[in-house]
């Protein structure tokens, strides 16, 4: 009896000890240590290519007398790598852009504006860009003043072959950055690059990193610990638990509204919705199926953000079953896309008609809309010399794509095409079209997202992307030529023509059934006024405010 008591006693002590330990001694990184610095006197710059923001001197926050303003927001998953040259997902973008800043930025209304520069001017031949930094901008945690050395380091590391940055293509045309003096520099390019102004300089790849800090902490630490010049500092990261951003007291520009932002990684949409309803999260991405529920409750504010996501059913033109364009047209006319949209997105997603969605340069307004026509579909199948056909449709095994697949299966059965649905887990799915095994793919439900530049839509479908991301295995030399031309062309009107022609080439070969540009539904408490990057890429935390 005594022994049994002893066992229980020890077990109780162990459990209590573990509980105290886990609640009190949770490991975390890093602790931001703000160092008092002089507040710079920001002067309004001479914006040349973009609008200049007006840095506004703000009052010191009165935290001593008022409750700190804390925003709790959901991250769809934990951060992966905060190094701008190697980010893994939009969660990294979200954190990076709250802490770090670029020479220029996107504002909440989708325009570009100067950020760290007083002025930035491209040369007429598009082969160089002159810039002048605002003076007196300090790095967080006492790493000194921002200089052109930091700009040179930040950009040239992308093209350093030893680093082999994942996003080196963002600076594909960069030759080097020339330092004129502490605040003035020149970006030297090998050839003009239109995307530099739309998706490189104002986005994550264009963020300026602190040379001294990166060299001090090394690449491994830099994955999860960053220092910037932005309005928030990375205070703490507890893996799988939370990321905490705290206001940078020495920020050179307008102070953000919230004193602290806690980002909670919640993988599952439904769990996030429960957390919103329980009042434990102030802002979250939710499923489209839940939009009506939140919209009917005045306690919440719902933003249906149009995005640059594009979804389609891809047809592998190298597969013998799909080589005949008549078979592909039979599929195109056999599928009822509006039914897919109603069943999957509760009618909240628009029907896509071509590669580039509305709101982007290169949007093809007159793109054809293929309505379901079973008779026509059967005629095309007959033209191909077939009365019936068996095809596999591979889908990422989530509710959205399974729903698509079931409707496609029913639709095409009426045409005489029997669809075998292959639901695959995420990692298996994303490996499906890689290399030679991609030749076996028949139909596949796909969904990509893109940055706000047409080149971002077309880059995955060139000939050299066959077996990489071009799972239709469609190769068109003219399409490739136009893609290269589109990147070099600086005139927006010319670029527009190029990208419309590219979409016409695509359409002529009937290689896809376009489904939708799926909007994202963000729900916040009615007291929160969120802000998003163009294309719904990620929340713009620095511009979140309280509603009036």
């Amino acid at each position: 009896m005594n022994n049994k008591r002893r066992i229980w006693l020890w077990m109780s002590i162990l459990v209590t000890f573990a509980m105290v330990l886990s609640s009190c001694a949770a490991p975390s990184t890093p602790q931001a240590q703000p160092v008092a610095t002089e507040q710079p006197t920001a002067e309004t710059g001479q914006a040349v290519t973009t609008e200049a923001p007006q840095p506004v001197a703000t009052e010191e926050p009165t935290q001593a007398v008022s409750e700190p303003k804390v925003l709790i927001a959901r991250l769809p998953k934990d951060i992966g790598n905060l190094d701008p040259a190697f980010i893994v997902g939009s969660e990294d973008d979200t954190v990076d852009r709250a802490v770090m800043e670029g020479l220029i930025r996107y504002t909440p209304d989708g325009k570009t504006a100067n950020q760290l520069v007083e002025s930035i001017t491209p040369a007429e031949d598009g082969l160089s860009i002159d810039f002048k930094l605002r003076e007196g901008i300090q790095w967080q945690r006492g790493y000194g003043e921002l200089t052109t050395e930091d700009v040179k380091f930040s950009y040239e590391r992308f093209i350093d072959p030893n680093l082999d940055a994942v996003y080196k293509d963002d600076f594909a045309s960069l030759d080097h950055v020339e330092i004129i003096n502490k605040y003035e520099g020149k970006i030297i390019l090998k050839e003009p690059q239109a995307t530099l102004w739309t998706t490189t300089l104002p986005m994550t790849s264009g963020l300026i990193v602190c040379k001294k800090f990166v060299e001090e902490v090394g690449m491994e630490k830099f994955k999860t610990d960053i220092v910037g010049t932005g309005p928030y500092m990375l205070k703490e990261w507890k893996p799988k638990e939370r990321v905490v951003l705290t206001r940078n007291p020495d920020y050179w520009g307008e102070q953000p509204y919230y004193d602290e932002i806690q980002l909670i990684p919640i993988d599952d949409d439904k769990v996030a919705e429960v957390a919103l309803e329980a009042g434990e999260v102030d802002f979250s991405l939710v499923s489209l199926a839940s939009v009506d529920r939140f919209q009917s409750d005045p306690a919440y504010h719902v933003d249906l953000t149009p995005t640059n996501n594009y979804s389609w059913i891809a047809m592998n033109v190298e597969n013998p079953k799909l080589q005949d364009i008549n078979v592909r047209k039979a599929i195109l006319y056999g599928i009822d896309v509006p039914s897919i949209l109603t069943a999957t997105y509760m009618g909240k997603a628009p029907q896509a008609r071509a590669l580039i969605p509305p709101g982007n340069l290169g949007y093809w307004e007159d793109a054809p809309l293929y309505e379901r026509d079973v008779t026509k579909a059967k005629e095309y199948l007959a033209k191909a010399g077939l009365t019936s056909l068996d095809l596999n449709l591979a889908v990422n095994d989530v509710t959205e794509f399974r729903t698509w697949a079931e409707i496609v299966q029913q639709n095409l059965a009426e045409v005489g095409i029997n669809i075998n649905i292959l639901p695959l887990d995420s990692s298996t799915y994303w490996d499906l079209g890689i290399g030679d095994k991609g030749k076996d793919v028949e139909l596949v439900a796909m969904n990509f997202s893109a940055m706000p530049d047409p080149a971002w839509f077309t880059m995955w479908f060139t000939c050299d992307q066959v077996g990489v991301w071009n799972w239709m295995r469609w190769c068109n030399q003219r399409f490739d030529e136009l893609h290269k031309l589109g990147i070099k062309t600086m005139d927006p009107a010319e670029r527009e023509k190029i990208y419309i022609e590219m979409q016409q080439l695509w359409d002529a070969d009937a290689i896809t059934v376009w489904i939708t540009n799926q909007p994202l539904a963000y729900v916040s408490k009615a007291t929160v006024q969120p802000a998003m990057y163009p294309g719904g890429l990620c929340p713009m935390l620095r511009d979140f405010k309280a509603t009036e």
Binding site: K4, M19, A26, G80, T224, E241, V274, D431
Partner: protein, 317 residues
């Protein structure tokens, strides 16, 4: 006893080796490239190869197992190639939360399930016994994730009297316990019903044994006979089930941790599998396997206290 411990130690090593080899082979069988998942669509083939090499994925299974075990012996579970964070740190942050959840659930199941079972066995065929039977079977059939969702919707969303997700504020034990209550109930609910049925059956069986009848005939009080002599023996199969059950609770904890967004071993392994983050999967499974083996060993030891006739390491006559 010493011979038993040595035998058990080598068995544990064998079990862990089999688990590790199986996991290493699985990497080659299961489709999906972790390096591509990690680096995204724009990484160069050279960089993808570098990451594969960092994960030992380009080496044969026996080399992977060997390298991993060599590191483990030196107290190093490896590095998460996604974030560059030490896996020791990830595991040490997640493990206590899962152990606490599993033990709290087991404790709750024992606290409610055993008295329910005893009550049923001591009042056989009464209407209360029938009610208890219906209740126990109903609880057994409720999966933990269903219970979890209902508990969340009722207590966190509707009534707003319990917290919904996470672990609570750092350093606040009361808040931590509040965040533990709903997941504990969700995970324990199946086991409450199961234990109640198990204890009822074993206790009824023991109560019909001759030595119990003899004890009663000798004039010992009913309570003394039921609780000191009958229940002690009736609990032996329950302890065996609890030993194995802790493993199943760890499995159930995966779903409960996902629903309640608790950063425990379940979510750590689940997310790592989804991302094909094999170093984390390997380390996580190793820790869970070690725990499972340890709990089974502990169960064996508890047997000897409950039934002195069982002598570990000796042949039963």
């Amino acid at each position: 006893m010493l011979a038993y411990l040595i035998k058990r130690f080598f068995m544990t090593i064998a079990v862990l080796l089999i688990v590790m080899t199986f996991l290493s082979l699985l990497v080659h069988i299961v489709p999906g490239d972790p390096a591509r998942t990690l680096l995204g669509p724009r990484a160069s083939p050279e960089l993808i190869q570098k990451i594969r090499s960092a994960m030992d994925l380009d080496k044969p299974a026996y080399v992977q197992v060997g390298n991993f075990l060599w590191k483990v012996i030196h107290g190093d579970l490896g590095t998460d190639v996604f974030t560059g964070v030490s896996i020791n740190r990830l595991v040490s942050a997640a493990l206590p939360h899962t152990i606490i959840l599993a033990l709290a659930s087991l404790g709750l199941a024992v606290l409610i399930g055993i008295p329910l079972g005893v009550f049923s066995a001591t009042h056989p065929n009464s209407w209360l016994d029938r009610v208890t039977a219906i209740l126990s079977i109903s609880l057994t059939t409720i999966p933990s994730y269903v219970a979890g969702l209902f508990l969340l919707l009722i207590f966190a969303v509707q009534l707003k009297i319990m917290p919904a997700i996470g672990l609570g504020k750092d350093g606040n034990l009361k808040d931590y316990i509040m965040h533990l209550i709903l997941p504990t109930i969700a995970l324990a609910i199946t086991w409450i019903g199961y234990l109640a049925r198990l204890v009822r059956t074993s206790l009824l069986e023991v109560l019909n044994e001759t030595y119990i009848r003899a004890a009663r005939a000798s004039g010992l009080s009913g309570r003394l006979v039921q609780y000191k002599y009958a229940l002690k023996n009736a609990l032996i199969p329950t302890v065996a089930v609890l030993g194995v059950g802790l493993g199943s609770l760890m499995g159930g904890a995966v779903l409960v941790e996902v629903i309640f967004n608790r950063p425990g071993m379940g979510t750590l392994i689940y997310n790592a599998i989804k991302a094909r983050n094999y170093p984390v999967v390997r380390a996580g499974v190793l820790i869970v396997a070690c725990l499972f083996v340890f709990v089974n060993f502990l169960t064996d030891l508890i047997y000897t206290y409950l039934d002195p006739r069982i002598q570990l390491g000796k042949q039963q006559r």
